[in-house]
Structure formats: C-alpha cells, structure tokens
Amino acid sequence: MSMPSWAPKPWVLFAFAGALVLLALVPLVNSDAYWHNLFTLTFLSITAALAWNWLGGLLGQVSFGHAAMVGVGGFVAARLQVSSHVPMLVAWGVGGVIAGLYALVWGHPTLRLRGPYFSIATIGVGEATRLICTYWSWLTGGSSGMSIPVHPALKFQLYWYGLGLAALALIASFALRRSPLGLSLLAIKSDVDAAGDVGVSSTRLQDLVLFLSGMTMGICGGFYGSFFSFIEPGDLFGFERSISYVLMGVIGGIGTIAGPALGAIVFIVLQQSLIAHYSQLYLGLYGLFLLLVILFEPLGLVGLALRVMKKPIEEQP
C-alpha cells in the first residue's frame, strides 16, 4: 500500500500548483484594471464560499446568515486601521478572530437545532446582527458606512493576497474533508447520535468548524474593506450577501471539496455579464439554477461534471 487513500493524486497536485503559478504571473503580463479587479474579487468569493461550505456542506448545517461574520470582521478591521492605524494584515487577522468568536457566541447554542431550524435561526442572526451593528455606529459609522484609506500600490498587491487566501482555503477544504476531522464532521452530518456512539464529540467539533468558518469570513470582510476602500453595513451584513454564499455553495456542489469554488466563479461570471443590461436578473436566474440543482443534481456543478465524465459519485449531498 503506497499512498494512503486520502492523499491527493499527483496530477491534482501538479494542476493546482500550475494554476497557482499561472494566476500569480497574470498581472505581470496583463495590466488591465478590470480583469485584475475581477480576478481579485473572484478569489475573495472563492475563499468565502469555501469557508461557508465547511459549515454548510461538511457539517451539513446550512447558514443563511454568514454575512454577519463578514461584517463583524470587516468593520473591526476597518475601525482598527482607521482609528488605531493598525497595519492592514494585522487588522484583518484581529477582525477574523473576533468574527470567529462571534460565530461561536451565536452558533454554539444554535447548533443544537437540526436542519431547517438552524437555517431559520441563522436568518434571524444575520438580520439582527445587521440591524444592531448599523445602530452601533461607533463600530460601523452608522448606515453611511466607513472609508478605509489604502495605498494604491497595496491595492494592486491585493490580487496576490487574494490568490493566497483562495489557495489556502482550497488546501484547508481538502485537508478538512480528507482528514479524520472531516470524517468526523461528515459522521455528525450523517447521524449525530450514531457519531457520538463511536466516540465523536460533536459539540467540540462543531465549535471548531464554527470558529474556522467565521474567522475566514471575517478575514474576507477585512479584505473586502481594503479592496473597496469603503464599506457600509447594509452591504457587508446584508441578506443578499448571505444568500450569495448559499447559492455559490449549493450550486457549485455542497459538501464537495472544490464545488463552492466553482460556484463562486460561475456566480461572479454571471453577475458580471448581466450587470450591464439585466443587473437585477441574476438573483432570479440563480434561484432557477438552485431549483434545478435541488431537483435534479444535488451535487451541483461538481455532480454534473462527475456525471459527464462518467465517474462514480463518491459523495452524497
């Protein structure tokens, strides 16, 4: 027995490394601002969608309120940079940790709820967080938001930060899924009581995933603030944002390793191509895709791809 069953196949490793190198080199040959920014935004969405999937797909608890952590992380980072002149990356980190802790605060008691009830609670959490944080203008600058000054050179470099984040998130997704932790999470997802019967401590593991997922969303919030130099609570905490993560995750392939990344790419592509003439259409279009996925291809785009390549489907949504 050479390689353990959970190690990545060699060609996957090569493809991943190759893609990383290529993507890293793109800005050096092409200085088109539009594509540069689009790619950066895509890396950000990939990271967020993957982080959402750790809770939604691996643990099986679909959150409709994940924007709450993006907002918390984003505004903490912004406030730190603006009021205390904390360096950008440190601010992102602190924002991330606080967002992760916030996720624990609401998530730990709420994860006792199963399935749809947890999801409904997350809608409440997301919206309550938005309203309360909008009111708490010390943190957020009220409904008019906050500006974060970012040096233009640094802004250009955000591309590579984004690429790095996305790569880390993908590696983390892979490691999570294939590691004993991932197996335990899927066991909890399958049958939480039976998981306990074979020694899985579900509360501890759920807390871990909550924190990791929340922290990553928080870091994304910080990134978002630095990228746009301006954030407002209605957008960062918004229900639309939370919905987008659900859509990216489920349409891409909930529970799969890279599905949400695919979902994020398609989401952004669609959003960009419709923005010119049919800017409000994409949400409804995505609703239609979601419908089709749920009815016909529960593993989303990944499932579709596996089917087309006639590979066995080793996952279940």
Partner: protein, 242 residues
C-alpha cells in the same frame, strides 16, 4: 467486566426500567431477553450512554460510567450497535470504520485506516470498502455496524438485535461473527435478541426482563424453562388473544 446496579429509568410516571442489576463477566456473551416493551432497549441505552439512568449506576471494571454521554462511554470502551442500522450515509464503508478507530481507539489517521480495513476484512466487507452504505443490503449494513463498533477497539460490545430481520443463512453467519468477535477480538458482549435459536447458540448466560424488572438469570437452557419466564412471554400472548 461491566456491572449495572439498580438501574431505573422513569419517563414521567412510567418506569421503563425498574431496579435492574446484572453483571457481565470478561469474555462472556450475555443475553438480555424479554418480551416486547420489557425495557431491554432502555437498559441498553443506559449502558451505552445514549440516555442517563434516573437512578442506579453503571461500572466498567472499577470505572464508573453512570450518566456519561455516549461518546465518553464509547471512548472508555463500551460501544453499541443499533437495532435500526445507522450507518454514516455520507462516508464510505472504510471511512465509517476509520472515524470510529480515530475517535475511540485513538489511532493516527494511517493506523486507523489500517485497523479499519482489518475490521472490515473481519466482517467480510473489505472488497466493498469504497462503497457507500446505501449500496449494501440490510445484512451488509448490520455487518458494517459490527465492523464499525469493533473499529472502536471496545472492551464491551453491546449488540442491539443484530440478528433479527435477516434470512436464516445470514443469521447463522452473523452468529458466527459474534462468536469470532469474542474469541479473536477479545470483547465481552451483551446482546439483546428476539431470535431464540441465536440466543441459545451464542449466550453463555442470560438475563430476562419483564415490565422493567429482572425476573430470571442463568444459563439459557435453564432460564427458558422457568415458569416466570414462560409466563412473561406467553402471558402477553394470552392477554393479547383473550
């Protein structure tokens, strides 16, 4: 090995289990039998940690397990299977067992993988280790329950009606598997079962419950001849018929 003292479980006004005491010796296969509704599953649940006893205590050797949540009981070495099979649908057979090995048997990932394969081989499922449980028949899934429980490297195995619901040939094989588990894997076993031939064949000692109370204890052949036991089983039938 495992000792239950004065176990009581109350649900509101109902005493599902009313003062049950028994002992499992190391290397023994103990049968827990009784008519429907006697409290066997509830006893089981209290031993495994699925539900805490209202009164009474549970010991594993000298260690007290009373009221510990299921995952702690499992890590201490008391693992149960389920009457209605509960495989991890999202994991392959191998992964089902690897999880157990990692969490209970405290093995590293690679070691757990190896041990899990060994248990699957023991249960005759190694060839299908990369399948999802949905691909198995009921008998296959019952074997998976066994293999997964054994992957925990338990000291005590609690088998909840593993034999019921499969055809006679499979039942015979399950029985052999249980005996091999005791001999090769060195586990002590408590099993509840309705299928009497299996009880006769496998259990060295039997404990009979009726309406939450322990009414008999001893060798299977002797116990089933006791008037109290016969009355318990037939009494229900007579009451239902009359």
């Amino acid at each position: 090995m495992i000792r239950a003292e004065g176990l009581v479980k109350r649900y509101g006004g109902l005493r599902a289990v009313d003062g049950v005491t028994f002992k499992l010796e190391p290397g023994q296969i103990l049968g827990l039998i009784g008519p429907n509704g006697a409290g066997k599953s509830t006893c089981f649940a209290m031993l495994a940690g699925s539900t805490p006893p209202t009164e009474g205590r549970v010991f594993l050797g000298d260690e007290e397990l009373t009221g510990l949540p299921a995952f702690r009981a499992a890590r201490a070495g008391v693992v149960r299977t389920h009457q209605i099979v509960r495989p991890f649908a999202h994991l392959t057979l191998l992964e089902n067992c690897t999880v157990a090995a990692v969490q209970c048997a405290k093995l590293g990932h690679k070691g757990a993988d190896t041990f899990a394969r060994e248990m699957l081989r023991f249960a005759g499922l190694d060839a299908r280790r990369n399948d999802l449980p949905a691909a198995l028949t009921l008998a296959g899934r019952k074997r998976l329950e066994m293999a997964r429980a054994l992957s925990c490297a338990p000291k005590v195995l609690l088998l909840d009606e593993v034999i019921a619901g499969v055809n006679p040939a499979e039942a015979q094989e399950m029985g052999t598997l249980i005996l091999r588990a005791r001999d090769e894997r060195k586990v002590s076993i408590v099993m509840t079962e309705h299928v009497m031939p299996a009880v006769m064949r496998l259990c060295e000692h039997v404990v009979v419950l009726d309406a939450g109370k322990l009414i008999a204890s001893g060798k299977p052949k002797e116990v089933v001849q006791e008037p109290a036991v016969i009355a318990a089983y037939l009494g229900k039938a007579r009451a239902n018929a009359g």
